[in-house]
Amino acid sequence: MGAQTLPVILLLPLLGAVAIALSGRWPNVREAISLLTAVTLAVLVFSWFPDVSAGARPAVTLSEPLPGLSLALSLEPLGMMFACIASFLWIINTIYSIGYMRGNREKHQTRFYVCFALAIAAAMGIALADNLFTLFLFYEILTLSTYPLVAHKGDAKTIASARVYLGILIGTSIGLLLPAIIWTYVATGTTTFTLGGIIQGNVPGPAVGLLLGLFVFGIGKAALMPVHRWLPAAMVAPTPVSALLHAVAVVKAGVFCVTKVIIYIFGVDFLFSQPSAQWLQYVAAFTIISASVVALYQTNLKRMLAYSTIAQLSYVIMATIILKPLAEIGAAVHIAAHAFGKITLFFAAGAIYTAAHKTELWQLAGIGRRMPITMGAFTIGALSMIGVPPTGGFVSKWFILAGAFQAENYLAIFTIIASTALNAMYFLPIIYFAWLAPDAPDVDMAHGEAPPAILLALGVTAALTIGFFFFNQPLLDLESQLVQSLPL
């Protein structure tokens, strides 16, 4: 398959969006098209996997508006993985959405599916971006296309939250990320992602820390504190949105961008030698611990999951900034592992909302007895968050810890251990509560399981969470290419 066909990965969901828009009058056709697009896209993306895994780096330039600034696509291991996760989970999420949207009789479903397809196209663009300009372009499209999804309900409270969402994401990207990109361009004359980095020798030492700051805070989607407020705000969206976008596509796009910038713009070796860049691990550590503590105090299930996500995102940043090969692999793997776990948790939250209209933690007492499949999946997801084998979360934590030991980075080790404890503290009580506690008083318990479409999706992701513990070799092979050139 020639590199010229790379743009098809972007065009497919776009065409899907158009087709969905046109078929809005017939819900069955519309949803069939959604599903078909998702499946085709996933097949297409996965068909690239063997090539990239074997070392191919297909690339294509679409246009070059300014010299050194082009709209170009390429596939490399990190992007390959992100594209695979996002496109695959889109299928499952589409199935889930159909159940959820119909089950809750949501309005404006066509707009919902159109924007969803656009968001996926943008996520694919981010995954395939060959340079910072392309990355920024799709980053902004992703923000804009998810705004209608967040504001879906359209009441005053939702709009206010959506405004926070948009304000922070657009504000940081224009205010910080864009200057960082321009700075990079002015200093180096290019914005192309290059293994080993392009900054070395072009930006003086102390300024590297500043530039790094502009990048990591500018990529607001990575939700590093203090630019994390948009993520809890985004929880006003329908659950499928929270599940795929705010556990996978959008937030992972954020940490993916950070990882990509650190590996391909700064260069791992170069950054390791820069004392001015060390502050980032303190910020990441702070974010992990404090987000976990805040999660501990949440009473709303989705908000708790949001804060858990913030902490988990900073795991990836933490792992990346350890700047050791094993940790970089850990960072990449954690993107995948957390995706499976967190989407399961959100699916479960959505299932509970659909079947029982419950959103608060105290309402969940004894719910496991009525919704065993849902809560079973929830338990698996929660275990993965904590990092208990045999779940995917264990694999990534293993690599990150190994990297931290390799670097003798005790801050990282301490943070990971502490946060594991905190994760256990807020997830285990829920599990206990849901399965073993007596039914909560004054709560309507006359409900059963969620619709089958939802259960199917839930089951698949839960299975993946466990499956990832056993079958992670292809991914490890792929990502180890990132660090081949690095000394161990």
Partner: protein, 496 residues
């Protein structure tokens, strides 16, 4: 007879001479059709001229066969071609898209006069763009100004009249200041031709009259270009003019004044007045900066969509002035590019306003709640153009903002504060744009009416062509870029 040699003259003469024919027509429709055709042919001529400039460089033309500096010369370089494309393009777009809206604003009997004035305004602006003679610029400036006053006075709101009177007074003061400056220069050099002037100024540099001349010309043109705080005429004039007229003038009329400002300050004074570029920068940059910041802030609080966009224009003119004030290669390219790109974005936005007002009879934001659900196609185009205004990548606005920021970063010492100001203003642009977009999509429609009410397909198609051109020139900016670069090199020719 090879007509291709006469393009610079035809560019002006064709629309100018069509105007008297148009006022003799009997019906509004015929007048409109004639004006549209003349406008489209002018666009074609502008494209031919652009091609000629890109192929063979600057085009010279001696009107009446008298060689300059004795006769009047016409010169068309990359910059002129860029401005010509803007003028004729905006006019064609506004005429083509504004038919329905203009028919409501102007009764059939008066319409021939109106379209005649329209063509004269366009021809006047073209005349400025091709002129190579300082006094000729004054004449055509007055032609276009008088005609523009008529166009604005055609607004249905009576405030259009008070706005246009203010514009007339300020415009005349600006033009007279310009004329005084030209007089001082003539007094010291004995010539009116731009190129000749630049040469002959060498002998009389640093004399008091020349310095005063630079002052008068800069202030006079800044008045006409609505550079903050000399912009007071602009918001009301844009707001109360007929909507289609706003599309036309917002896209090009102030830009033409900036064009002459640049011509004079770079091609004429730059190489001759010691420290002129510094003085120019000291004068223009603070004004530009305050315009960028304050006008953006004021725009946030507007309740009328047209007025909001008008204040946004003041801020955007600030960008152009800022970039031009940097007196560097990169800065000028940024200024010229932004002239083009801003015209694209504003033209599209005001065209969307035409559509909104056609269906909902009001440009007040409060009356446009929910318009996004009722007119999804138009609103989507509006959002696209608004993104270009903000400078989101993939749109034309991004390209010029990119150039602007890279140019600003070259300024020693001031780079970072200037970048911060630009970014702050971009964020304010997000705020005022989004304030409208949000209520357009999620606001409760007046009377809870949710019936779809899109405008007719041709207008919708035109709006989308305009909106997509914002994207096209964001991805393939080669044409404006080439013109801007060629324009910059002629402007800075005085330097080397």
């Amino acid at each position: 007879m090879n007509l291709a040699d006469h393009l610079p003259a035809l560019q002006v003469a064709l629309p100018l001479l069509t105007a008297p024919l148009v006022i003799l027509l009997r019906t509004g429709f015929l007048a409109w059709l004639a004006a549209l055709l003349a406008s489209l042919v002018s666009l074609g001529l502008a494209l031919l001229l652009t091609a000629a400039v890109l192929e063979t460089g600057t085009q010279h033309y001696a009107v009446g066969g008298w060689a300059p500096p004795f006769g009047i010369a016409l010169t068309v370089d990359g910059l002129s071609a860029l401005v010509l494309l803007l003028i004729t393009g905006a006019s064609s777009l506004a005429l083509a898209g504004g038919r329905q809206s203009l028919r409501l604003d102007i009764d059939n009997r008066r319409a021939p006069m109106f379209y005649g004035a329209w063509l004269i305004a366009m021809a006047g602006l073209c005349g400025i763009a091709v002129a190579g003679d300082a006094f000729n610029v004054f004449v055509f400036m007055e032609i276009s100004s008088l005609a523009t006053y008529i166009l604005i006075a055609a607004g249905r709101d009576r405030r259009a009249l008070s706005a246009v009177f203010k514009y007339l007074i300020i415009g005349t003061i600006g033009a007279t200041f310009y004329l005084i400056g030209v007089g001082f220069i003539y007094m010291m050099t004995g010539t009116l031709n731009f190129a000749d002037m630049a040469l002959r100024l060498n002998d009389v540099i640093e004399t008091r009259p020349i310095i005063i001349a630079a002052g008068f010309i800069t202030i006079g043109l800044a008045l006409k270009a609505a550079i903050f705080p000399l912009h007071i005429w602009l918001p009301r004039a844009y707001t109360y003019a007929p909507n289609a007229v706003t599309v036309f003038i917002a896209a090009c009329s102030t830009k033409v004044s900036i064009y002459i400002l640049l011509r004079f300050n770079y091609a004429v004074f730059h190489g001759n007045l010691l420290g002129h570029s510094d003085l120019f920068a000291v004068f223009i940059i603070p004004l530009a900066l305050s315009g960028i910041l304050l006008a953006s802030a004021i725009a946030i609080y507007q309740v009328n969509l047209k007025k909001m966009l008008a204040f946004s224009s003041v801020a955007q003119i600030g960008y152009i002035a800022l970039a031009a004030g940097l007196a560097s290669q990169a800065g000028l390219v940024a200024a010229l590019l932004h002239m083009f790109n801003h015209a694209l974005a504003k033209g599209t936005l005001f065209l969307c306003v035409v559509a909104f007002v056609l269906t909902s009879r009001s440009a007040t934001i409060a009356n446009l709640h929910g318009i996004g659900r009722r007119m999804p196609w138009t609103m989507a185009a509006f959002v696209l153009a608004a993104l270009s205004l903000v400078g989101v990548p993939g749109t034309a606005g991004f390209i010029s903002k990119w150039y602007l920021v890279t140019a600003v970063m070259e300024v020693p010492g001031w780079g970072v504060p200037l970048v911060v100001a630009i970014i702050a203003s971009s964020l304010m642009a997000v705020v005022y744009v989004w304030k409208f977009v949000e209520v357009a999509y999620y606001g409760k429609a007046p009377g809870d009416d949710t019936a779809a009410m899109e405008v007719a397909l041709p207008l919708r198609a035109l709006i989308w062509v305009a909106a997509l051109s914002n994207v096209y020139f964001g991805l393939f900016p080669q044409l404006p870029l080439a013109l801007a670069q060629s324009g910059t090199s002629t402007l800075l020719g005085g330097l080397n």
